[in-house]
């Protein structure tokens, strides 16, 4: 007879679990690895069939991503003399010269401003709204909460045309402010509901103690509720940012010039010949970085359960 513990899995179970986890990780990582790898291929390697798993890395994709180039006649090229930099040399291999930076930098910055701006607004408004719904007697509270939730019951793109017309009238078309307001409006319902759940979990006794200790309600909210809601605020912020960062349809519809974000811009990099996949992949790879950094920075808040234990139930 052998004894079994219900908490400690057997070696075999651990192996099966390990294989499943590793298998799933590989499955989800393959597209990511493929994109990152493609960014370092030459255009011909990128579209080679069968696909090249082993290839000699090139920075061509990144050079093409950040520059605009033009083709010159051989005699004009010869007149320019030898290329002076490594990126000139890469471009010169295709009988081209760099004429200036591409628009990727601007589009990327638009994404940063719009993504983080709308995330900040969604979380800020969501937190104070959720606090009010959680703590105060709001007239028609349940109806209001349902109304807020109901804005998520249809795909946002269903109202694309009205929003487009409205934005044109208001002069919000192709502006960073317009996109921030739009993404905030879409994210707000998620943010209110998520945060209300987190704030409901924080016992009201803490605020009462702070009120007695000489603080106003706002100070109690700021000094006692907010630090304990940090976990909820962090995870809500990540959800909001991921949506705003990746959003494509509205961005493609409402922005074209000054306020265009990276998602609608990246596919246009592919170029007239339709073969510059490494530049597209490089653009997509760099686009992943901020959200990964943001998630890693907030990770400790996601993992921390801080409200346990100091109130006797």
């Amino acid at each position: 007879m052998s004894s079994y513990s219900i908490t400690e899995p057997s070696v075999r179970q651990k192996w099966i679990a390990g294989i499943l986890v590793v298998g799933y990780a590989i499955l989800t990582l393959i597209p990511l690895i493929w994109i990152i790898a493609t960014g370092f291929k030459t255009p011909s390697d990128a579209i080679a069939y069968p696909p090249k798993v082993l290839f000699s890395p090139s920075l061509e994709g990144y050079v093409n991503l950040f520059t605009s180039r033009t083709r010159l006649a051989p005699e004009d090229l010869a007149a320019l003399g030898e290329p002076t930099t490594w990126y000139d040399r890469i471009v010169r291999g295709y009988d081209m010269v760099i004429t200036g930076p591409s628009r990727y930098g601007e589009r990327f910055m638009n994404s940063v401003v719009i993504g983080f701006g709308s995330t900040f607004l969604s979380v800020f408004l969501g937190t104070i709204a959720a606090y009010a719904f959680s703590r105060f007697k709001v007239p028609l509270k349940d109806d209001l909460l349902f109304f807020i939730l109901s804005t998520r019951m249809m795909p946002p793109i269903a109202v694309a045309i009205p929003i487009f017309l409205m934005y044109r009238e208001l002069g919000l078309n192709d502006t960073q402010l317009g996109m921030i307001l739009l993404y905030t409006a879409v994210n707000l319902s998620l943010s209110v509901w998520l945060l209300k759940g987190f704030i409901d979990e924080i016992p009201v006794e803490y605020e009462e103690a702070a009120l007695i200790d000489g603080y106003t309600r706002f100070q109690a909210f700021y000094k006692v509720v907010l630090p304990q809601a940090a976990t909820g605020i962090a995870s809500t912020a990540i959800f909001c940012l991921i949506f705003a960062w990746n959003e494509y349809a509205f961005a493609a519809l409402l922005t074209s010039g000054t306020a265009q974000t990276a998602p609608p811009f990246i596919p246009t990099i592919i170029g007239a010949g339709g073969k510059d996949w490494p530049a597209v992949a490089a653009g997509a790879t760099l686009f992943l970085v901020p959200i990964m950094v943001f998630t890693i920075l907030l990770r400790k808040h996601l993992l921390r359960g801080i409200t346990f234990g100091a109130v006797r139930k």
Partner: protein, 331 residues
């Protein structure tokens, strides 16, 4: 420090009446203990004074001023919550500094450090000051929660069973300390407890609450020796007062329905025979569980008594209480 006065205060929560037209004065510098079972309105009363809840009717005065329109912060009260309510994201030290750093007090840094160290010493938590508030035992949390109140010098200290989670030794120590603080500072205390020793040793006044009404208010001795009703008599006394039919030991005054006998009101060695059912030796005293004419009586006898179960002991009432059919005391 200030006098606290509640005037005709009524508070309802939905259909539940927590306080019913209650008037009571906590004199300046007094230590008032509130007694009553769960639901009698003790905690509600503290919350009325603190401003966390507001009365439906009636008024609360602190230092002679109506505080109806004041926030809890403006009332300058300190409160020890039954649930501790320590700030879980702060250390013990930060918890105790929290009220001193408030915009209300704005205490200088040196003063904060001195005050926190002093109170931590009294509460025997100096070695825990840098712990997270969540990394404490229940008794330690309770002491930090008391400490958070004691660092201040408020108009009144409100305490809701502040010693309930402590072990007997610590409870005895802190009882003395709290009483010292009250006596030395001349502080006003409004204090909820179920513990008879706390009520008897600390209180200058005791208020007995019954379903949101104040049924008796007086010194602990008055409440103990001159209870107005069976209910009030039952709040104090270890062992519990014996309530028996009025004529059990012979003729009773007119209108009396019940006789009330505390252990010291039962004279042993004279009167009627009763049967010893059980002898409980508690160390400093010995309790006798007696059977007398089919009624159970609990009393106290000499710690080293030779009595054993099955023995016969003679008892008779000595200056007993008599109550009428409604429970009100008549003699």
């Amino acid at each position: 420090m200030a006098e606290v006065r509640l005037q005709n205060v009524t508070k309802t929560f939905g259909a539940t009446v927590a306080l019913s037209d209650l008037s009571m004065t906590v004199p300046d510098g007094s230590f008032v203990v509130l007694l009553g079972p769960t639901g009698a309105g003790k905690t509600t009363m503290l919350r009325m004074v603190s401003g966390l809840d507001r009365p439906n009717r009636g008024e609360v005065f602190i230092g002679g001023q109506s505080v109806q329109t004041l926030t809890p912060a403006q009332r300058n009260v300190a409160m020890v919550f039954q649930q501790y309510s320590l700030y879980p994201h702060l250390t013990v030290r930060e918890n105790m500094e929290f009220p001193l750093k408030s915009p209300l007090l704005r205490t200088p840094r040196a003063e904060i450090t001195r005050k926190v160290a002093e109170v931590a010493e009294i509460l025997q938590i100096s070695h825990k000051l840098d712990n997270k508030a969540t990394a404490l035992s229940g008794g330690e949390m309770q002491r930090v929660s008391i400490g958070r109140a004691l660092v201040r010098n408020p108009s009144v200290y409100l305490m809701d069973e502040p010693l309930s989670s402590l072990d007997a030794k610590l409870r005895a120590d802190l009882r003395v300390e709290l009483k010292n603080i009250q006596a030395n500072l001349g502080a006003t205390f409004l204090y909820v407890t179920h513990d008879q020793i706390e009520a008897m040793t600390m209180a200058t006044h005791v208020g007995v609450l019954d379903q949101g009404r104040l049924v008796q208010f007086g010194t602990p001795r008055e409440i103990y020796e001159q209870p107005v009703s069976i209910y009030a008599a039952g709040r104090l006394g270890q062992p519990h007062i014996n309530i028996l039919p009025a004529d059990l030991f012979g003729p009773a005054p007119a209108g009396a329905a019940k006789i009330g006998l505390r252990p010291e009101q039962i004279e042993q060695g004279a009167g009627h025979d009763s049967l010893v059912k059980r002898v409980e030796r508690l160390g400093d005293q010995t309790r006798l569980h007696l059977s007398f004419r089919n009624h159970d009586i609990t009393t106290v006898t000499d710690a080293h008594t030779a009595l054993r179960s099955g023995d016969i002991v003679k008892i008779q009432p000595h200056r007993p209480f008599y109550f009428d059919a409604t429970g009100a005391r008549i003699v």
